[in-house]
Symmetry: C2
Subunit: 197 residues, 2 copies
């Protein structure tokens, strides 16, 4: 139960919730641990869970037409992820979800989530915090593509997520930034040259 402390803080879950309300939710959730490199669910999956990362790091990736891996998103502790292809469009996942570190998640099936929230108005009212958190993150990413150069986007990403360089391979980070690993390497070089002026 204690594992939801971070969730409460970040998504304001529990802000207006009594321990009873919170428990109504938590009792429908499950926990699971994945070792580094383990697949949480693969491309083609119709997994319908909504996951919350308690500890660890995952990446969501697919392959482009050349067969190269493209990492679409990296999700760390305190964040939510789900099979968007299935939950948004009722389609099989185009992406594979992989644990990059030993990762502990909490999850609830969308069906159960909906049922619990239908029964508890306080929980339903808290739903917006989770959705807004996802919307903010997504919107900030769109901004980084429209308003910034790749170099600025890289710097901004590192600033927002300082431990990224130790935790995520450059090639994965590169595709999250919409560039190639070679280009990321050159950007890093350019930045370090600027600092030596």
């Amino acid at each position: 139960m204690l594992t939801f402390e971070r969730l409460k803080k970040i998504y304001q879950f529990g802000k207006n919730l009594s321990p009873t309300d919170l428990h109504a939710f938590i009792k429908h959730t499950h926990s699971q641990e994945f070792g580094q490199g383990e697949i949480i669910f693969p491309e083609g999956s119709t997994n319908d869970n909504v996951y919350f990362i308690n500890k660890g790091l995952i990446r969501i990736f697919t392959f482009n037409e050349n067969g190269d891996e493209i990492t679409f998103r990296i999700v760390a502790e305190g964040q939510i992820f789900a099979n968007a292809d299935y939950l948004f469009y009722n389609k099989a996942s185009r992406f594979t979800f992989e644990a990059l570190e030993d990762t502990k998640v909490h999850f609830i099936s969308y069906e159960d989530l909906q049922a619990v929230l239908d029964r508890n108005i306080k929980l339903e009212k808290n739903r917006k915090f989770a959705l807004l958190s996802l919307l903010k993150e997504s919107n900030e990413r769109v901004e980084s593509f429209v308003l910034m150069t790749p170099e600025e986007r890289y710097l901004s990403f590192v600033k927002k997520f300082p431990s990224i360089n130790n935790r995520v391979k450059d090639k994965h980070l590169a595709s999250v930034l919409g560039i190639t690993p070679v280009s990321l390497s050159r950007i890093r070089k350019r930045i370090s040259q600027k600092q030596n002026d």
Copy 2:
């Protein structure tokens, strides 16, 4: 009142709502019309309304460090927009909101929206449709940046919004796609050359 028919369809507002519930919402909304070129609210604004476009088209733009206009988003009939800087972060808007066509909107202040939804559980439950719709749109845009080349992104945008070429200036479309107008012009040329093969 009829003006909400589109909203009902698109956001499933009213799917589970009685006319009474719907009316509870609608009576707190206001309508407004903007002529082509009119500013809905400017950079620096703390406008806190949530807008629904009934008819017309708007663009959300700012200026980069060189003083060039950057159009961040184009919003057409059936879609929602709001002052994200203010509603998400309680900051003054970095963007100006301008009507690109004669535009009719419905809006409700966030305060009123929250109050109405607090009082009506059916409306609160419908909130997710609006938020999910925004999240889907934003997520699809991130995908278009991570998974596609600018050329593919352009083609995909036109496919999703076929009237765009008649309704939006290329220079505005270009920055929505994260490229310069010159580059968009070249992309169009390349595409038309391919078609002549």
